[in-house]
Symmetry: C2
Subunit: 101 residues, 2 copies
């Protein structure tokens, strides 16, 4: 079970939500080879048409930090930058257990 | 992939965090037989010693609603009530995909 989990929100420019979802889902493809990342879930919400939420579970904080330096991540960040209006870290957490974890 | 996901926060009375974590982890045991619930993750946070966070992914909203009426859930709710000071639904979401989903 990972020791470090995150819940965050991207706010996109009008009409760009699905474009960001696609970029983030591409990111999850590159995560397939990153063992330290066990969960990377992309969500939208009826409550906010310009929001994309990401829930992540990592082995530890260092593994998460290291992933940001990966070339694949950097490429996706550059692609996403033009359509992102805001980034918010909602919660930084420590998993204690559960179903599907 | 489930179509309905939730991220919420329980605030407990001082010193009761681990007691609530245990009750919620018991709830995840009873979720093992509930196919419509694919993820029920219990977290704590260094940011708030009296908070317990739950991340859930369900087949749909009806399945989640129905689970609240289960006897096992009702028993756990009664046990948890005395130590809970607040309940907050942070986000109601729709999963779009990702690793481990």
């Amino acid at each position: 079970m990972g020791e470090y989990s995150l819940f965050g929100k991207f706010t996109v420019k009008d009409g760009e939500r699905d474009a960001l979802v696609e970029i983030l889902l591409e990111a999850t493809q590159s995560m397939k080879n990153v063992e330290e990342c066990t969960h990377y879930h992309v969500h939208v919400s009826d409550d906010d048409p310009n929001a994309v939420y990401v829930y992540e579970v990592w082995k530890n904080a260092d593994a998460h930090q290291a992933s940001l330096a990966l070339e694949s991540t950097q490429i996706l960040i550059q692609r996403a930058k033009p359509i992102i209006a805001g980034i918010e870290r909602i919660s930084t957490l420590q998993p204690r257990g559960g179903k599907g974890l």
